[in-house]
Symmetry: C2
Subunit: 125 residues, 2 copies
DNA sequence: GTCGTTGCAAAGCCTTTGCAGGGAA
DNA sequence: TTCCCTGCAAAGGCTTTGCAACGAC
């Protein structure tokens, strides 16, 4: 049976609090503010478990590498802010799969990454 | 001054012949069929040089990791065939940046990856 | 008291770097 | 002959794994 260790709870809380895709480094950093002893190996192991359990899903970001996001929020795309380096999930989809590829290509799924400035950083300028 | 070694020529020829984004492993494999002694370090060093020279551009593929493609063919997207695992460049762009993100987000650029079956693999089924 | 989890350190990958020998010009 | 480039091996950086101790239940 699965056990609710302080480390595991901390990691899950960070995802709940931030509500955006997170990378290992960020999880480790924020996790250590909650459980000081938190080890990298523990983060990796818990992320793997949460992915297998279906709670998290890994996404491969073109710039930031592998990030983890919570599942169950339908098809969406990602926005990467070049100021704060955070990634946000954008609901909805503006891409027509049928018109996106030339004839002969059968498109089954797609991923879109947008890059720019997020609302919070845009206001500060 | 830059020298035309057999290794460097081989790598450039592979990109010309394949005319699609390639990864290190594939370049190394095909390169060794031309120059048997070809070493991984040489491939990495030449890719780095060709990127600095502006001949190649690295793209970070969500599944295949870093691939290299020839520059100078304008904005385009990528299609990954799940049968043959090859990536193709698709000319044109079907995404409206202004409508792709909610208000408040300023989109400056984007990347689109399509996944499915390429024409060649589609015919064989 | 069990046995799933953790921290630590070692081991694995992939990529980069140092170095001496080799080859293009 | 020069000195850029290559192959080899060692070194980095990130992720995974082995193991003994720990702690949730």
């Amino acid at each position: 049976m699965e056990r609710k260790t302080s480390q595991r709870v901390a990691i899950e809380n960070i995802f709940q609090r931030e509500n955006r895709p997170l990378g290992v480094e960020e999880i480790l950093k924020e996790g250590r503010e909650i459980v000081e002893s938190l080890n990298q190996a523990t983060v990796y192991r818990n992320l793997k478990l949460l992915v297998e359990k279906g709670t998290l899903k890994p996404i491969s970001h073109p710039v930031l590498g592998i990030l983890y996001e919570r599942t169950g929020r339908g098809h969406h795309h990602h926005f990467h802010c070049r100021i704060c380096d955070r990634v946000f999930e954008l609901p909805g989809c503006m891409l027509s799969e049928t018109s996106a590829a030339p004839e002969g290509f059968v498109t089954e799924k797609h991923e879109v990454f947008l890059f720019g400035i997020c609302p919070a950083c845009g206001q500060q300028q």
